[in-house]
Structure formats: structure tokens, C-alpha cells
């Protein structure tokens, strides 16, 4: 089943986001639709430039404008129409209804304020509580994300913490107002593998315990396999495949998904002569080929693939795929 079973907390329909560049107007997102159910963990995977981060920013309407703008489609977040919402209302939505964890915790935290200062500020923007109570809440939150001696940590500055700890602080901040949707954009990419495993486990545990909807954005199919129930695969601003995680990994329908799965570096028992690859590279968004965007790299491409763009259609196994010759 590619549609989420519970009531959707997020519903995106035909979303188009455009950016003005020197090379002309490019479409970073070209008509994407998906939803996230209450308490569901959805993974979005794709390579740089595929539009996965733009999707995340659009949901909170954080696309820098200019040069970017939402040029079409709708985003419904817990019944609120995000696209037409006035800015002051949006500010209330961010943090309380949906919040975001970024890749780089050092740049996402303000270096001249203590952890406590920043957490108290977030809490007091959304809740009418005193500074003392907000600080108590913040300490509790730090404890929830398994930071040792939170009473001490709360008065420290970001540079005094390790990368893994900073990301835990970001998680604590993002969750401090119990959002219904958490958007995690490459939350562990900047961390070492041993720390990555710990932080990912933390995010996953809290997501289940708080029954939040979650969008996990990553280029790493390994991380998604362990965390998400459904996966969206993006390529060049389009969704090219969508399926339940197990189904996607075991029976990838789109040749690109197949190629991505094959090219993940993994420990192998036998050394290979050469590693499986996807030929060529991602086309320039300002100069997209006619037809399927993956055609020039696709081992199965036929003439029709270079002429017409395949629509995203239902598969027999309940997912969706945009390919004329799916596996």
C-alpha cells in the first residue's frame, strides 16, 4: 500500500516550486504529490539536486523568496493550507505543528547563546510559560534525548558539545512543543557512524513514543531501511517511485531505484571485479532532456522513453512507479 493507512497529517498535491537562476527559471519540484499519515515515518531518498530538501523547506514555507517560489499545487498540514497562510500564522505553525532538524547542528544553533537560552526561547514563543518553567521543561527535554547531566549541559554553549550531542540538542528543541510532524533533513550525515547509529535510534524511538508523523530525508538508503515504513524516491524534481520499504528494497520497480540500491557501498563477502554503477550523471535542471529524465542513464531505455515522460502510476504491489518498462 502506498497510501498511508491512517488519516494524513500532511497532504501534498501537485506541488511545483520554481527558482529564478542565471540560466532561467528552473523547476526544483515539478508536480509532486504524497502524504504522511499520523505517526507514520516516511523516507524521502534521492541524490543532490533531486528536490528532497526543497520539499522539506516548502512544507514549512521556508523557501527563500526570491529567488524561489511555490508556483503551484497545495500543501495541507493538519488541515491548514500552508501555501496561502499569512506569515505571522506560519510562524506559529513552525515549531508547534511541524518542526525540522537540519544536517549541520553547528550552524543551526546560535553560537553566542547557551543551549538553555535557545531552548527557552523556542518554548516561550509557542507556550505561555515563565522562564523558570520553560527552563525546567528544557531540562526534561534534554533528559528525554538521553543527554547526560542536562542541568549542567543547559548552561553550556554549542561549541562545548560534540557533534552527536549538538544534534541531540537540535532534536530536543524540535520536539519541545510536541509537533505532529517532524522533518529530519539528513540528520546524521555530518556525524560519525558510531554516533549516527545512536542518534538515529533516538529519533526513531521518540517518533514512535510521541506518535509523530516523520519525514526522514536522506541520500542513504541504509538509514531509511532501519527507520521508515514507506519510501519516496525522487529524481530531478519528480517522484519516480513510492512503495512500502520492504517492497521497495526487495522489488525495486524503477531502474534508478535498482541502480541506487546496487551502488550503496556495502561490506561484501567476495570482492567484486568492479563496483556496480549508474552510468553518467544527473542532468542539469535548466536543461532537462525530453522524455524520461533518467533515460540517458538508464540501461533499459527505449525510443519512447526519450520521447515521452512516463506518468507516476499504481503498481500491482500497491506502490507507484514512473516508468514505461518497470522491473
Amino acid at each position: 500500500m502506498s497510501e498511508s493507512s491512517s488519516k494524513p497529517i500532511l497532504n501534498i498535491r501537485d506541488l511545483v516550486v520554481e527558482f529564478k537562476t542565471e540560466a532561467g527559471v528552473i523547476r526544483a519540484l515539478d508536480g509532486i504529490s504524497f502524504e504522511v499519515g499520523e505517526g507514520e515515518a516516511l523516507g524521502i531518498v534521492g541524490e543532490s539536486g533531486c528536490g528532497k530538501s526543497v520539499t522539506a523547506l516548502s512544507i514549512l514555507r521556508l523557501i527563500p523568496n526570491p529567488p524561489g517560489r511555490i508556483a503551484g499545487g497545495s500543501i495541507e498540514l493538519d488541515g491548514i493550507d500552508v501555501v496561502s497562510q499569512p506569515e505571522d500564522k506560519m510562524r506559529k505553525v513552525r515549531g508547534s505543528l511541524a518542526s525540522m532538524i537540519f544536517q549541520e547542528p553547528m550552524t543551526a544553533l546560535n553560537p553566542v547563546f547557551t543551549i538553555g537560552n535557545q531552548m527557552v526561547e523556542v518554548i516561550r514563543v509557542h507556550q505561555k510559560v515563565s522562564k523558570v518553567d520553560a527552563k525546567k521543561q528544557a531540562i526534561e527535554m534534554l533528559r528525554t534525548v538521553n543527554i547526560e547531566s542536562p542541568e549542567k549541559r543547559i548552561d553550556q554553549y554549542p561549541h562545548e558539545l560534540s557533534g552527536g550531542m549538538r544534534q541531540r540538542v537540535m532534536i530536543a528543541m524540535a520536539l519541545s512543543c510536541s509537533p505532529k510532524l517532524l522533518i529530519a533533513d539528513e540528520p546524521t550525515t555530518a556525524l560519525d557512524v558510531t554516533v549516527q547509529a545512536q542518534v538515529m535510534e533516538e529519533i526513531s524511538r521518540l517518533q514512535r513514543e510521541m506518535n509523530m508523523g516523520m519525514i526522514l530525508i536522506t541520500h542513504d538508503l541504509g538509514v531509511i531501511a532501519e527507520t521508515c515504513t514507506r519510501v519516496v524516491v525522487m529524481y530531478c524534481g519528480k517522484i519516480i517511485e513510492m512503495a512500502e520499504t520492504k517492497e521497495l528494497y526487495e522489488n525495486p520497480k524503477h531502474p534508478y531505484t535498482r541502480g541506487l540500491l546496487d551502488s550503496i557501498p556495502r561490506i561484501r563477502e567476495e570482492k567484486l571485479e568492479s563496483l556496480p554503477i549508474i552510468e553518467g550523471m544527473v542532468p542539469d535542471l535548466a536543461n532537462l532532456p525530453k522524455g524520461c529524465r533518467f533515460a540517458e542513464r538508464c540501461p533499459k531505455a527505449e525510443d519512447r522513453c526519450r520521447e515521452n515522460e512516463p506518468p507516476l502510476e499504481d503498481t500491482e504491489s500497491g506502490g507507484k512507479v514512473a516508468c514505461f518498462i518497470p522491473n
Binding site: E47, H219, G222, A225, S263, K271, S274
Partner: protein
């Protein structure tokens, strides 16, 4: 001994590093005095055979990049010995070092920062040829074209600038530049970490092919054990400035000995949904250089630490007399 007569005697390794130490001073206090040292590389010894790749793996801050830069003398070394192709690199004077550098090159992680944005691809690749006055001037452009072809780039790209290329192509340009002087030894410092997975494998395959064709030795530095496996003959694992395990690639992956190596292997996220999740055996972060732990540096995070681990540092020693598999752990 019977054994040693059967084994073909090993040739002298191309790269020999003995007890290399690179310390950075920690300054502070009144008059900015030296308060102590960050022991970025703290006594590492290893050797690399001609035509082989040594994979050096470890997490950020373990000293792997400092090690790579130190052996090429791109970094001031505190003590130790480095011999590359018979030359004592650390004692060379400036002029001799410039000459020696023709034989040893480096490929950097960041294909955006390591190419001069104001130079064309032709100029970038030609520069080392001009500096070292290789061949006749007229022949150098033809050499640039040959190098582009070897690295899988079209000749027509020669007069374009770095910003016009994707990350994978820029890394190919960096590799072409490193190959220009026909080096015997290349340090590749996280060469594929900044690339997308689909392009990563392309560049890894290119490096493997180049090695097979030209017999270059590589020190391949990476944080990712999965990336290193394909490309390496031998693998060393670094932690907190020291080598904690070293073995042939086959052995390291099939029977890792050090608890840290085991943890690194376990922590790699697997693209197998529904797999029984392994319990994460190590917690916490790498120790601080301001307050290094006593005994084994991994001991505060180690799931199987014994009392003696906090007292004495285990030496890096072979598992048994004939083994090239070395580990520094009191368990063995």
C-alpha cells in the same frame, strides 16, 4: 625455517613509516603559553607495498588526514621516520623535497575547494607538468589530453572552468592532475565522501583501474569501511591518533579483532529492512585531547573493557608469529 623458505621474500615496501608523531600545541592562559599537545598522530607505523592500496579508516578527529598530510610533509611532523621509494622524506631540504614531490601526489575530499576556479581544466592539469618541466613544452598539451581520456573526461572539456562540472567530474579532474607527473604514490584523502552514491562507485572503479594499469601505490583515507573494502589490499583502523588494528582486507572484514573495528562494522546502516537490529554496543564520543584517558584510548567506550585496560595501554602487535594481522587490545 621451513616457512620462510616457501614464502617469496617481500620486496622493500615503497612507503615505510616508523613511529610517526604529529602534535599540535594547545595554547592558552597568560602569555599564550603552550599548555599541552593535541596528539593528532601519536606513533603510527605502517608500510605500503609497491602497487598496493592501504586503506586507512577512522572517525573524524582520529588523525587519519593529519597522517596523510604528514607523510607528504604538507604538515610539520613532530618526530618519526618516513621513507618513500628509499628517500628519507623528513630530512630532505626544500629543493630536494620539491623534486621528490613529483613522485607523491594527493587527491582531496572537496572537489570544489581543491581546484582553482580561475584556471581552465587544461591549465590545472598542465601546471604540474610546467612546474616540473616535464618533456618539451609543445608536447604538454597532448599529455593533458591523454590524461583527460584516462580519467574518463571528454577532450572538449579542456577549456572549461571547474564550476561548469559536477562533483564527480571535478574529482576526475583532480585525479588527472595527480596523475600528470606519473607518481609512484598517491594519498587519496576521502576522495569520494562528497559525492553522490551513484557517482561514488564510478570514481572508486576509476581509482582501481588506474592502480591496476599504472601500478601506483595508494594510501586511501576514509571514514567508511564499506568504501575502503573494495579498493584496499590492506586496511588499518585508527582511533585517537593511533593504529588499533591492521590486517589484509579479507581478514579485517571476515574476522575483525579490535572491539572498535567490530563496532564500526556493526554501525554501518544496512539496506535490509526488517533485519533484526543489532544492539549498538558502543556509546559516547571520542575522548578529548585536553584530558586523554589513561590506558587504552578506547577503554571508556569499550563494551568489553577490563580493569587493566584503564591502567596500561596495549601495544600494537601481531596475532601470532607469522601473522600480518596486528591488533592493540589486551584481549589478544
Amino acid at each position: 625455517m621451513f616457512h620462510s623458505q616457501l614464502i617469496k621474500p617481500m620486496e622493500d615496501p615503497l612507503v615505510q613509516v616508523k613511529n610517526l608523531k604529529t602534535y599540535y600545541p594547545i595554547k592558552g592562559g597568560l602569555l599564550n603559553r603552550r599548555m599541552g599537545d593535541v596528539r593528532a598522530v601519536n606513533g603510527v607505523s605502517l608500510d605500503i607495498q609497491a602497487g598496493q592500496t592501504f586503506g586507512l579508516v577512522g572517525e573524524s578527529g582520529c588523525g587519519k588526514s593529519t597522517f596523510g598530510r604528514s607523510i607528504l610533509r604538507l604538515q610539520n611532523v613532530t618526530s618519526g621516520e618516513v621513507r618513500i621509494d628509499g628517500q628519507d622524506i623528513l630530512s630532505l631540504d626544500r629543493e630536494a623535497l620539491v623534486k621528490a614531490r613529483a613522485d607523491m601526489q594527493i587527491i582531496f575530499q572537496d572537489p570544489y575547494g581543491s581546484l582553482n576556479p580561475r584556471m581552465t581544466v587544461r591549465q590545472i592539469i598542465r601546471e604540474p607538468l610546467d612546474t616540473h618541466e616535464v618533456g618539451e613544452k609543445v608536447g604538454r598539451d597532448a599529455e593533458v589530453m591523454r590524461l583527460l581520456e584516462i580519467c574518463g573526461l571528454r577532450k572538449s572539456v579542456a577549456d572549461r572552468y571547474p564550476h561548469e562540472f559536477s562533483g564527480g567530474q571535478r574529482q576526475r579532474i583532480g585525479i588527472a592532475r595527480a596523475l600528470a607527473l606519473k607518481p609512484k604514490f598517491i594519498v587519496a584523502d576521502e576522495p569520494v565522501s562528497a559525492l553522490d552514491v551513484s557517482v561514488q562507485s564510478q570514481v572508486l572503479n576509476l581509482i582501481s583501474d588506474l592502480q591496476a594499469e599504472f601500478g601506483i601505490s595508494f594510501l586511501f583515507i576514509s571514514h567508511d569501511l564499506a568504501v575502503v573494502q573494495h579498493i584496499s589490499h590492506e586496511v588499518g583502523v585508527m582511533y585517537f591518533g593511533e593504529l588499533v588494528e591492521r590486517a589484509s582486507a579479507e581478514e579485517l572484514y571476515s574476522s575483525p579483532k579490535h572491539p572498535y573495528t567490530q563496532a564500526l562494522l556493526e554501525a554501518i546502516p544496512q539496506p535490509l529492512p526488517g533485519r533484526e537490529k543489532k544492539k549498538i554496543s558502543i556509546t559516547g564520543d571520542i575522548p578529548s585531547h585536553h584530558d586523554p584517558p589513561k590506558g587504552c584510548p578506547f577503554q571508556p567506550r569499550c563494551p568489553v573493557a577490563m580493569p587493566q585496560c584503564a591502567e596500561h595501554k596495549p601495544p600494537l602487535k601481531p596475532l601470532d608469529t607469522f601473522s600480518r594481522h596486528q591488533v592493540s587490545c589486551w584481549l589478544y
